[in-house]
């Protein structure tokens, strides 16, 4: 498969190099809000939306910085814009859809501290994606994040009913589970290169 095709970029971000399970981005919300499937779903949606917005803004900023030849300010601009993008999204949702805000609102501030968003912006810059590729990349990353979060939440809901030794309750257990999921996701590797 052509490494620059939109399909490949999407699959690569969603499955092969899953943001959470292969690149370890966005672990805080992954461990924090994966206890219930419903909250995990809402968090996933909110993250996907913010990813899309920041990907587009990061693309614009990078273009502007390149034009002005001041790329060394990239990191500072990205973080500032992502923080304000999250604020903006929060205000827009609050104004136009109060019901959605009640359901999703509390997740939005959490996303600012989610390194997956900054990671997305940085990776798309390093890989020199064009606009469409950036879009495919951000949607793929968002889908991948949601999949990982949902799988984890499903497993943890089942674990509520299981008896586990007292030492392994809490974070250690979640990490071991994440390790198993990550092991499973490794088998998606080869999707891009096998049939050629």
């Amino acid at each position: 498969m052509d490494p620059n095709s939109l399909i490949f970029i999407f699959l690569n971000a969603a499955l092969i190099n899953n943001f959470v399970l292969a690149l370890f981005l966005g672990l805080c919300p992954f461990l924090g809000v994966s206890a219930k499937r419903e909250t995990a779903w809402n968090m996933g949606l909110a993250t996907m939306f913010v990813m899309l917005v920041s990907s587009v803004s990061a693309y614009g900023i990078n273009w502007l910085l390149k034009e002005l030849d001041i790329e060394f300010l990239r990191l500072i601009c990205y973080i500032a814009v992502i923080a304000s993008a999250v604020q903006l999204v929060e205000m827009t949702v609050k104004k136009f859809s109060p019901s959605l805000f009640r359901a999703q609102g509390i997740f939005l501030p959490l996303i600012t501290t989610n390194c997956a968003i900054l990671g997305l912006a940085l990776f798309q810059t390093f890989r020199e994606y064009n606009f469409l590729q950036s879009l495919a990349f951000s949607i793929g990353a968002g889908v991948g994040f949601t999949i990982a979060l949902m799988l984890m939440a499903g497993l943890r809901e089942k674990l509520e009913l299981a008896k586990v030794p007292s030492v392994s309750q809490g974070a250690a257990m979640s990490l071991m589970l994440a390790g198993l999921l990550s092991l499973a996701f490794m088998r998606f590797a080869g999707l891009g290169g096998s049939h050629a």
Binding site: L21, A22, L23, F24, L25, G26, L27, C28, L31, F72, L73, L75, I76, I79, A80, A83, T113, N114, C115, L118, G119, L122, F123, F126, S166, V167, S168, G170, A171, A172, M173, L175, M176, A178, G179, L180, S182, L183, M186
Partner: protein, 217 residues
């Protein structure tokens, strides 16, 4: 002085040591996990990442503490983020100047230090309320604790995954490396195992205490 909610802390050994053990950012507070797992597939990367994070932590804590009376409350988070991003950009260029190989190995994770909640957490919870001396000592402690945690993971993963430490062969040539340890799942497993170990030690200590009291009475 009275506006400051917390008491000024006297610099003691505890100011430094707290970061190493009681409030270890990784093992106890579970903060800043992305770099902890992502770059610890070798000891060298772990050391470099630990030092880079410590530098940013100390530098930003110093500046935040120096400016603590000049920063209005409403814009403090924005200010902290700009300060942190500045130092991270500096580290990014410094590492490129020191070694391109190292820079390529760490990749985007140097710039992702910005999103490491340990640093913002220190600025907000400690440096913005304490004098420069205490802030610096505390930041060094936290940085050291973070580096030690990275080393704990990095050495175990490199030893089991490649049979080497810092590139030197430790196990005999017959050792078949557990490749999975260098791969992403290994990161989760090793951190999980360390947490299990600490939890076990803690519980054993708690069990022993009442037993000891029972024996004396």
């Amino acid at each position: 002085m009275s506006v400051l909610p917390n008491q000024q802390e006297q610099i003691t050994a505890d100011t430094f040591l707290r970061g190493l053990w009681q409030e270890n950012p990784v093992f106890v507070m579970l903060l800043g996990l992305c770099p902890v797992l992502a770059v610890t597939n070798s000891t060298m990367n772990a050391i470099a990442m630990g030092l880079a994070t410590t530098f940013v932590l100390v530098a930003s804590s110093t500046l935040v503490s120096l400016l603590r009376k000049a920063i209005p409350k409403q814009v403090r988070i924005a200010t902290y983020i700009i300060i942190i991003a500045t130092f991270v950009t500096m580290v990014d260029y410094l590492i490129q100047a020191i070694s391109l190989d190292l820079y390529n190995a760490l990749g985007a994770f140097i710039q992702l230090i910005v999103a490491n909640c340990v640093i913002l957490g220190r600025a907000e919870a400690y440096a913005s309320k304490q004098k420069v001396g205490a802030a610096v000592v505390n930041a060094f402690g936290m940085g050291a604790g973070f580096t030690i945690a990275l080393l704990c993971l990095g050495t175990v993963r490199e030893l089991l995954g490649a049979g080497t430490i810092l590139g030197f062969q430790i196990f005999s040539a017959n050792f078949e490396p557990w490749v999975v340890m260098i791969l992403p799942p290994g990161g989760f497993f090793v951190l999980g195992a360390w947490l299990l170990l600490f939890e076990y030690l803690k519980q054993r200590k708690e069990r022993k205490l009442p037993n000891a009291e029972g024996a004396t009475s």
